[in-house]
Amino acid sequence: MNGNINKRIAALFSFCLLFMVVHGQVAIHGSVSTEGKALGGVRIDLRRDSDNKMLAYTFSDGQGKYHVQTAQSGPFTLLFKALSFKPVSLSITPTQADTLIDVQLSAGGVEQLQEVIVHSKGPYRRGRDTIELAVKSFLQGDERTVEDLLRKIPGIQVGTDGSIKIGNKEVEKVMVEGDDFFEKGYRLLTQSMSVRPLEKIQILQRYSNNKQLKGIENSDKIALNLQLKEESRAQWLGSVDAQVVPIGPKYYQANANLMNFGKKNKYYLLGAANNNGVDAVSSINHLIQSGSPDEPGQIGVGITTPTLIDNTPNLPSFDYRRTNFNNDKLVSLNTILNPTPQLKIKWLGFANPTKKSFYRNTVQNYHLEDIQFTNTEDYQFTRNIDNYFTKLELQLEPNKRTLLSYSGTLGSLRKNDLGALLFNGVQSEELTKSKGYLTNHSLSYSYKFSERDVLVSSLRWIKQQSPLDYSINQYYYEDLFGGKDIHAVKQHIENNLQYLGATTHYVSRKKNGDFFELAFNMAYQQQQLNTELKLLSNPDELGGTAVSPSEFSNAMDLNVFQTNLISKYTFKRNKWELTPRLQAGLVQNRLTDFGKPKHKNNLLLFPGLSGKWVIHPKGRLETDLYFQQQNTSLTELIPHYYTTGVRNFIRGTDNLATLSSSGGTLMYTYGSMTDRFFANLSAGHQILFDYVGTESSLDPNFSLVQQVLLKNKKSSNYKADLNYYLKVVGGNFRLDLGANTADYETLVVGVGNRQIHTETYDYGLSFRSAWKSRLNIYTGYALQSVTYRSDSKTTLNNSRGFLNVFLNMGKNIQCNLKNESYRFGSFLGQDSKTYYFSDFSLSYELRQHRTRFTMTAKNIFNTRFFRNAELTDLYNTSTEYKLLPGYISFGVDYSF
């Protein structure tokens, strides 16, 4: 019985052993030697005979021993290979679980290697500026949007506002399959687009907006390109967010965006509405103003009709949203089509019906020798805007060296301003209507001669009409025009512009790193300005008659034909860089005033020199020197008066003059942001040999401002910021110092020439913590002293304090408290007053559910009015603005 059991056990054991050999692990061990000595460093690889696939490999150790194993089944070849020895190849079919094979190698084989390896591709050479990343290498499963994925890629930093940085540089744009919708507004895309259709991310360094300038232009821009999976079908993605105030004033904000990216066609739709002060158009503003003037081959960038009447408030360094009583709506549709690989069509359009209101109360005080009076203005202003805008871009790339692109825009810009005015206690209503039209077309051709030389030529045509009708139903100008029965004043303005410009720009990058640029451009600009002021004696229904006072109408044409030659050479060396530049232009001007022409042909010169120098590893010096000549512009030429609002009439010099100026700046930087001590010092000086100043005739009810040509205006500015990171308190102290001075002249009728000297001094101290804790603060205090000195001296001292507190209450909860105080020195008989503002926000993010909840408390102290003060060389003003009340809103964002 026992024997039977033993036999069975033995049979089972043998079977298992056989099974292990056939189906289980095959292990081979042994030693390698030569001439009886152990041989280390010999590669032993086990290959399957059927397909020569390497199943396992190892190297013999210092004693010549080795061990390889595989789960695969034989037959196998065991190959022994080492430098200076003949390879040995053994065919084996192991019949045991662990097979012992000892091998002796004999000298021979590869005995000598002396090679220089030439790689056909290097990382930063041929495709040197593109880094390509496979998306699946970085996916961990919890990513939802492109932004989530980018956060996981080492070297890419994503800020909480969605800004993407690589190193210290923010990316220019994020493209999809080489197509770009949003330029710098890429977060619309990265925060909404799903990672699912993505295959690869390309990081494009030294990026150029014009493909042909790539590698030739002196660029340090970075862009990202998202490549989609072949099979990824066009899917609709998007996000919605809404914010409402449940109790109290009814404020809201809502946004929705929807997008679809196919390989060939791409669509993006956006809708936004709010009445909480946010300017909805600001998110797409960058789409309207395309083209950067410092890029080669650009012409006519920034050419537009001048704005003659503008009543919107100007509050520098104050949050505009606090005074903006608005109702903004925006709808935008965008598409990119790629019908063939060589052709790209991009179209975008938007409509923006908006209402903006503000309330202000101004006290304006004149105190010039015998001219002494005070005006008060109570102003309630409502603006209705109806803007429609469309843009078409075509890009054709017939071959690798050539690029042809066209961009055309068409816009209808309507504005209706209604102002209810109480001027020195007299009620009136001011109405400004404008129905503008704009079309702007540009055609550009780039040809790349070689990897170093490119020629970009472009042509631009602009036509713009900005007509305007102004009226006020009160007559304040009896002392100016006489007449008693006048009940209203009107002014019609025709403000037209036509522009045709062509440029050809050659850019060359030299072997030693120097850059050379040469451009030739020609531009013809025709501007027409007709204004007519009418005094209406009776209401229209009573057969009202209109009188146009002489000297208050314009019929002017300004035609300017300009030819320019621009050259620039950058000498780039290890520690310094020097760029001399010269622009020389021939200008033909023709100014017509009611049919009477004036001509002027002149030469304009604009030489300059800029330099950079690394003085020592921590110190850097930059300088710029220039001399500039330019001709008086349209608004400086207008021969007769026109009104710019209730009590101002202005006219230009009527003199085709050339204005020369010269200046220089010097900037020194010590250290960098990562050093404890980091400082920037700068100084600048400018002399305007000729400048356009003013001669004012002042009356409580009106002022007549005549622009005059004056000489030698000098201004200087000095600025320093010193930063020191104090380890004990874990934060940076920053001291800001600034001084600006100017000396110039103004003329006032009845007073004569006034020499004005202005001084502005700024002092600021701030502290920003970088604590490891969840809490961080940023606080500071700044003082400004402004002085105007002529026959008397007026000084205004203002200050601003702030304390921002950031609290990170966990991975998904963040809160933020922002406090500000503004204090204005005693002024115009009013005591100094301090205003406090406080805003709070809290957000909670549920990443898995693609949802974020927010709570915002605005203007917690419910400060309803804000009064600021301003000094000028003629008067002092104090203006009170009405502010949006305090409220608490709740919001939710959802992406799909």
Binding site: Y124, G159, K511, S672
Partner: protein
């Protein structure tokens, strides 16, 4: 201390050994800004990699000088005295020795190097130089290494700390927004020259484990980041991500896993 002696014993023996030595020269390209020369010596038992402290001059690198992106006006972080970086590894040992420096002070650092598990199961083949090279990948300290090796030169050797493939590594990089590249430029066998490593000097250096070294280095870097953060202009809704990004191949160390 014992481990150091064993290492130096091997290092010493390797100097004396009559085994034929292989010498490989790599170009190490940590960014478009600079390229360093890295010499690797291997005698069948011990690998020594020596990376120059100074970048190769761009004229030498490429006659077409402008092919480099180097700008004289970039911010440099934490400059100071730098030393050659030496990595010593004995075949199959579970640790390596390397010299590292922080703010001009050199250390001898022991790295209990995690075994690289190479996935060679790729059909991708690339010809680099005259060699047919096979692709292999491995997960390594928070990044993925991509290597191309040649079966023609049967040594488990590669640049820096990397190796263990069936043949000499001809090209290696890590997948990242800032990839580090190594390109094999030259190979000599047998190599009869000297190995420019001063054992006595290396042995005299203060000794740290990699964990101690990294923590010390991180502390200094973190402070530098905080200095920078505290100086950055204030923007609404913007805060700096605390995500750790190291300027090297190694992103996450074993002791940093939660």
């Amino acid at each position: 201390m014992r481990k150091y002696y064993i290492f130096f014993l091997f290092l010493f023996l390797s100097r004396l050994s009559f085994a034929q030595r292989l010498h490989a020269i790599y170009e190490y390209i940590p960014s478009a800004m600079a390229t360093f020369k890295e010499d690797v010596y291997y005698d069948g038992t011990v690998k020594i990699a020596v990376r120059d402290s100074m970048p190769i001059r761009k004229q030498e690198l490429n006659k077409d000088g402008d092919d480099e992106v180097a700008s004289s006006f970039s911010i440099t972080i934490g400059s100071g005295k730098r030393y050659n970086r030496v990595v010593i590894h004995q075949n199959k040992a579970d640790q390596q020795l390397e010299t590292r420096s922080i703010q001009g002070v050199n250390y001898l650092v022991t790295d209990k190097f995690p075994a690289l598990v190479w996935n060679t199961d790729y059909t991708d083949v690339d010809t680099l130089g005259k060699h047919v090279c096979h692709k292999a990948t491995a997960s390594y300290r928070g990044t993925t290494l991509v290597a191309y090796y040649t079966n023609d030169i049967p040594v488990p050797v590669g640049p820096s700390k990397f190796g263990g493939l069936p043949g000499l590594i001809v090209m290696l990089y890590n997948e990242s927004a800032n990839p580090n590249y190594w390109y094999l430029k030259e190979v000599n066998y047998p190599y009869a020259g000297n190995i420019p490593v001063n054992d006595k000097y290396i042995q005299s250096l203060p000794k740290l484990s990699l964990e101690e070294f990294v923590k010390k280095d991180d502390q200094i870097n973190e402070e530098q980041m905080r200095i920078m953060y505290s100086k950055m202009p204030m923007m609404e809704g913007v805060s700096v991500d605390k995500q750790k990004v190291r300027g090297s191949v190694e992103q996450v160390y074993e002791w940093e896993h939660q």
